[in-house]
């Protein structure tokens, strides 16, 4: 390994280093000053996030199993920014007494999943992809069960591990068929040898199903709501934006580079699942009372919109998917951030509890409203631009009916997002949630989200950068 190889793998190596440093720091840290590790980790992670933006050579390693390109680097950077915001948001929650003995574990587990995602995104071989996927999933199950004395949290952990084992099994089965018919697992070789025969298509369908579980696409979404409800809120937000984002990134890369031969096949699959995912996610979200379940179903429907960027197989599509994930990270983390602050202070997570929130916590209400408007796609916030580009990507290839269904779905989603706005602003309450005093890190985390929600849309340069690294089939 020469030094340039280190540079190619910079993201993964830096993250591993951070994980190890935290591990060692725990051994030497003063048991009475456990909290100091929080600021330490945040600064460390902030530094490596910034370091990720330094220019980096492109290249390939391990005989093509690991590839690094400008596009993949950008995806990793987007994930890093999201993780940083989540870490900042969780700082105040980690300071609670009940979490005092497991702060390090939280950081180490979380960072190992990010390492897994980075390997997954950079993979050029299905085995590397699979290893990355597992590394990105299993620690999350441990994190979901973080509040292990709460039944729901333990249940969420078990559910998540079972469902990932199950979906991994399906995915591997599909890969074995692809391997059996092509004799290779390298992305570029599979792409050349793929011929559209039935067994290969079956293999692809299994692969698609496995990914659909990770992205919680209907009809493979049933785990989502339960796991999101049971897990601690920052783990939920991590699952909903970072895990989903990483899965979407690698999924679109593989679809565009490995399976262009059967484009028509996967277009059909995506057409149907996109409609189902948007509609069912939206209809179920209407009935939810618990905000975490509510955001779970909202995130299912968001995955449905995301599929509109996949379907065309065009450059605009890929650009809009990456851009939308970026927008989605900031919007969803804004919403989850508010839920987290209020849940931390009061343990209240129901929509009814938010009645009259504007009377006592105008700031939090406004942030929540902005985040929800961004999720619904209302201008001038970033979600509007994200949705517009996704729809444009599908329309470019003539999928007008799909776009029509999608825009009608945005109206349904607007309805339930407005229900929360209504609870906060319109409904008067005798006993609204009291004024919540939030700490520095919480304010910083929410501030970053608000800034992102406003800036990303208007700063067209971001979209142009993303578009330049995107490609079509």
């Amino acid at each position: 390994m020469s030094s340039s190889n280190f540079l190619i793998m910079r993201h993964e190596l830096l993250l591993t280093a951070v994980a190890l440093i935290i591990l060692i720091a725990e051994i030497f840290s003063d048991p009475k000053k456990k909290h100091s590790i929080i600021s330490f980790t945040l600064i460390l992670f902030g530094v490596i996030t910034a370091a990720g933006f330094l220019p980096s050579p492109e290249g390939s390693m391990f005989g093509g199993m690991y590839n690094s390109t400008a596009g993949k680097l950008l995806m990793k950077n987007i994930l890093n920014v999201g993780v940083l915001i989540i870490l900042i948001q969780s700082a105040d929650w980690l300071r609670k007494d009940e979490n005092a003995d497991k702060i390090h574990e939280y950081f180490i587990l979380l960072i190992s999943t990010v390492i897994g995602m980075n390997f997954m995104i950079s993979s050029g071989h299905f085995l590397m992809f699979y290893i990355g996927l597992e590394l990105a999933t299993i620690p999350i199950a441990a994190l979901a069960a973080y509040d292990r004395y709460k039944n729901q949290s333990a249940e969420a952990g078990i559910k998540l591990i079972m469902i990932s084992a199950f979906s991994s099994g399906i995915l591997l089965y599909g890969l074995s068929m692809i391997y059996g018919t092509t004799g290779t697992l390298y992305f570029n070789e599979v792409a050349d040898l793929f011929q559209n025969n039935n067994l290969q298509v079956l293999g692809f369908i299994f692969f698609f199903t496995g990914m659909a579980f990770k992205l919680s696409i209907v009809p493979f979404h049933l785990w989502t709501a339960d796991v999101y409800e049971g897990a601690p809120i920052n783990v939920t937000s991590y699952l909903s934006v970072i895990s989903k984002g990483a899965a979407a990134f690698i999924f679109i890369i593989i679809l565009f580079t490995v399976f262009p031969v059967i484009t028509e096949t996967w277009q059909k699959a995506i057409y149907v699942t996109a409609i189902l995912t948007m509609t069912i996610g939206n209809l179920f979200a209407i009935r939810q009372q618990n905000l975490k379940r509510f955001l779970a179903f909202s995130s299912i429907s968001q995955a449905g919109y995301l599929l509109l960027g996949f379907i065309g197989g065009n450059q605009l599509g890929m650009a809009s998917v990456i851009y939308y994930i970026l927008v989605y990270i900031f919007s969803n983390l804004g919403a989850f951030g508010v839920v987290l602050v209020i849940s931390n202070a009061t343990n209240k997570e129901n929509i009814n509890d938010y009645n009259g929130l504007y009377q006592t916590n105008p700031g939090l209400s406004l942030i929540m409203t902005l985040a929800l408007f961004s999720l619904a796609g209302i201008p001038p916030v970033a979600g509007f631009f994200g949705k517009f580009f996704l729809f444009a990507a599908a329309a470019e290839k003539g999928f007008y009916i799909l776009v029509l269904i999608a825009v009608l779905n945005t109206i349904i989603s607007l309805y339930y997002y407005l229900l929360i706005v209504k609870a906060m602003f319109l409904t008067r309450s005798e006993t609204p949630i009291e004024k919540v005093n939030s700490g520095f890190y919480t304010k910083l985390g929410l501030g970053l989200c608000v800034a992102g929600i406003f800036v990303i849309g208007f700063a067209s340069i971001l979209f142009e950068i993303i578009r330049n690294i995107s490609y079509g089939i």
């Binding site: 605009l316 650009a319 825009v407 945005t410 109206i411 407005l418 209504k422 067209s460």
Partner: protein, 501 residues
Amino acid sequence: MDILTLFVVIPVLTITGILFVKDIKQVRIVAAIGMGIQLILAAVLVFMYLSARKAGVNDEMLFIKDYLWFKSLNIHYAIGVDGISVAMIALTSIVVFAGIFASWEVEFLTKEFFISLILLATGVFGFFISIDLFTMFLFYELAVIPMYLLIGIWGSGPKEYSAMKLTLMLMGGSALILLGLLGIYFNSAPDGGQFTFNILEISKITIPVSAQRLFFPLTFIGFGILGALFPFHTWSPDGHASAPTAVSMLHAGVLMKLGGYGAFRVAIFLMPEAASELNWIFIILTSISVVYGAFGAIVQKDLKYINAYSSVSHCGLVLFAVLMMNQTALNGAVIQMISHGLMTALFFALIGMIYGRTHTRIINEMGGLMKIIPFLSVAYVIAGLASLGLPGLSGFVAEMTIFVGAFQHTDTFHRVVTIVAVSSIVITAVYILRVVAILLLGPVKDEHHAHLTDAKWYEKVSVITLIGSVAGIGLAPFWLSTMIGKSLQPIVNKILAAGLF
């Protein structure tokens, strides 16, 4: 900075100013000053426009500014105005200015109220100055969404229901518009080359007729929902009845005009071939709007509902005229938009003021108000007369022009629908005079009403501004007609070039 962008910047600055002041009085003053400047700016714009035309500038749009925004999609922040948009901008600034004074007495969450109101105005101004479909759509949605909070928080009656219904229906309209715009965009370069959202550039090419057949109905219905096109008008009565005064004024006066404006600027102008093929469907629907709205108004008991149905009727007439697709009718459509905008704003302002005194809007519970509050009553009569099209006021000019234009079509179908639509004038007279008779004349029904006070100074500012404008258009419609007429020329030429009439 160019003059048109100022129309968006000043409201934003006003909002920022409101954020930083503390008590209610200052909020009002900042809002009034901001929108006062906007009104002056609109007057300046009118003069700049007229003098530029006088100097012989014959461009389709004036004061064009174009900034590239999203390079790869060829999205621009592009602005420019012709006579129609200038007229609409003038209308908007008058109504917003009057609206600020009409909501002088809002005491609950005053700051938030004025911020939402001015945010709505920002969207409307932005919509009228845009010539790029993307920017236009962005501003359009920006104008719709504050309505939810405005009606939901400060409204009356079943406000939560009305707010949700209105928002969802209008956003449903904008969903259709979005699809239509994407369709226009991806067909804007039939000979290859770069796609564009720029209205002027798209108008130079002909969108393939097969695509037009698909996207004209979507766009027209999308904008039509905002213009209260039957059967998508149901948000309007509930929404207007529940909204606070200034919001009803702005919504019926200006926001509904976005529908009419968009319908001809986007749907008809860019897709004339499909428009001429399919317009019979919408002509039937709009004539139903016109007559049905008028009949609806007859049987209502609530003042706001009467006016809301009357708006359905009058805005239906706008769309009806737009669909006639000739110079005279289009001219009438624009004048009707302005006239109805001012007149209905005046109506809603007066209703708000009367309601603020009598605490009822049911007409049968009131009577003889003419003796008690003469200023408001006389103003109400003037608004009513304008609404039923009395010569000398703006309504007459507008309706006359529309029907003359509609009658220029000699075939039976157009004759029949025109005659049906003309009958609305009579029905309008019935419901207007009925209200005037019950409400203003006769004995005082409720003794509590006997000691009401007449209009306060800020109410007078609001009312006089509006009456002045209504009478101004009615007495001297010619400058408005010339301003609009010239600008309609490219649109009419495009329709003629399509070889339709």
